[in-house]
């Protein structure tokens, strides 16, 4: 469905030197699948997303969506790509225009793509979407500022779903949210995926969240995909050193297990020749 092939991208630094950010990235999202991309900060996750959305032109390689070459598409093809692929961004405080009402935010896509010319039908659709994400019609005349972070992210998801996309591209969609609210949004994304048979490209740094929600995952290390496969395997039993190191550093909400791990780490650090710190 979404095929990223041989994607490379470099940026010029202020000093004039070129920094390669992505190197030969291959990544596929299949219909109805939640595919994850994980990596530390600076690994190139966001650049992959920008290239996948067509917002940034890669140096080489291609991104194709359902037969459309995203970086060459024009006219009706580009419109179809933009209708069928929708982004959800990290920060719902920044991604929603503060001057628009919730109704306008959600029906904007319907207007742009002229999907529901009838105003009453559009209204009904907005109400339906709000209810789908756990809000209601009373939200329509209000502005984003009246909502909490979790509610805003629901509005952003409703906005993305309004025009019936087939693929959502989510860049850290829950990392700005509180723990108790994070679970709501994760559950909502899962439910939407099942109900609407959506495909989702889910990019995040939180390995536990990615393992929970994704069936497939790729691990990005300094612009290179170093491992990919079923998420239970990659984020469960992987023996690849980089993935293993990341996994072992994920805090576990279990004091006994956490203590066992710390003892192991600190005894390595303290042993002669061992340096667990740098």
């Amino acid at each position: 469905m979404l095929e990223i092939r041989g994607l490379s991208k470099s940026f010029r630094s202020a000093a004039g030197t070129s920094v390669q950010v992505l190197r030969d990235i291959n990544f596929t999202v299949r219909p109805g699948q939640i595919a994850g991309l994980v990596g530390e900060s600076g690994s190139g996750k966001s650049t992959v997303i920008r290239c996948a959305l067509g917002l940034q032109r890669p140096d080489s390689g291609s991104v194709s969506y359902d037969g459309i070459d995203v970086h060459a598409a024009r006219g009706p093809q580009l419109m179809r790509f933009r209708r069928e692929v929708q982004p959800v961004f990290q920060d719902p405080y920044a991604s929603l225009n503060p001057r628009m009402t919730v109704e306008r935010l959600i029906d904007e896509g319907l207007r742009v793509h002229r999907l529901l010319p009838d105003a009453a039908a559009r209204r009904d659709r907005v109400v339906e979407l709000l209810e789908m994400v756990g809000l209601d019609a009373s939200a329509m005349p209000r502005h984003p500022r009246a909502f909490s972070g979790g509610q805003r992210q629901r509005i952003a998801i409703a906005r993305a779903l309004a025009i019936g996309p087939r693929l959502l591209i989510c860049d850290e969609p829950v990392s700005a949210l509180d723990v108790s609210v994070q679970a709501q949004v994760i559950n909502l994304l899962q439910e939407m995926q099942e109900r609407l048979n959506l495909a989702i490209l889910f990019v995040a740094h939180d390995l536990a969240v990615v393992r929970h929600i994704c069936s497939e995952v790729a691990v990005l290390e300094r612009g290179v995909i170093v491992e990919s496969g079923k998420s239970d395997e990659v984020l469960g039993t992987s023996q690849y050193p980089y993935t293993r190191a990341l996994l072992e550093a994920v805090p576990i909400a279990d004091p006994l297990e956490a203590r066992r791990r710390r003892c192991a780490r600190l005894s390595v650090a303290a042993s002669p020749g061992g340096n667990g710190y740098e």
Partner: protein, 337 residues
Amino acid sequence: MVDTPFANAPLVPATNDAAPLLDVRGLSVSFGHGPAAVRLVDNVSFAVGAGERVALVGESGSGKSVTAQALMRLNPHMQVSGVVQIGGCNLVALSDKEMTAERGASIGMVFQDPMSSLDPLMTIGDQVAETLRLRGVSAAAARARALRVLDELRVDRAAERLAAYPHEFSGGMRQRVVIAMALIGEPKVLIADEPTTALDVRVQERVLDLLYSVSKERGLAVLLITHDMGIVAGFADRVMVMYAGRIIEQNDVEPLFASPRHPYTQGLLGAIPRIDQKREQLQSIPGAPPTPFTRPPGCHFNPRCAMAMEICRKDYPAMIETGSARVACHIHGGGHA
């Protein structure tokens, strides 16, 4: 050497008294005056002993960072009441000048974002030594102490890096510098407010391990403020859960995770995905935490609580003590607060 509390402070204070180092009683914090006043932290009491690591967990708006700022008296617009006792001295009652002397000396603080707590135009060495210089320690002595603290925090090649600037350091190294700044005055109590939130997991782990070792070696009392239950499990001896300005549950770390008593704590633990096990669906807590302006009457958690009873909507529950646990919840009996 100059006669200051710093110059003669032992590097490893031999403290293991029964009396807590930090004893907070009935701490309340409000902003504003008259009818517009809003109470952010409400009647919070806790104690942290020497060498003890206590976590204060809560979501945004719960009042955890405001509590930290109140302990340090960092915000002059806050009205702070209650008692914050460190070594026989009530910080709340001190004059501004006296408080300035205590900051860094008896209580130190580490903030979330190491880039914004460092001056980009000052060398690392000068920043770490600044606390001592301000108290009249000679440049050479302060520099030597800075070097010693950076070494203790395993900053490689610390001697040559004293002359470096913050932008030359990675995020994890910067956070070590910030910790060094907090520790150089040999405080007995360290408050760390989300010290690793801006860091990647591997760096986070190293910084937390360091804080852990330092607290053991120095007998330092650490109050760690975080929203991450995973970090709490790996770092803290004891946990306090904060919701809407109040501590609603506290316990030793193992029983808290094994048998959380407050429905909110139970919800929080059910809401986090675990890397080491597969959960079909995350348990989510409906709604969102209230803002200080929209805290409901009765128990502040009642609108989100599946087990809320009539009394929960009317009366704030009293803190009940059973064994190591303290919980403020009507389900566990007790009266109203």
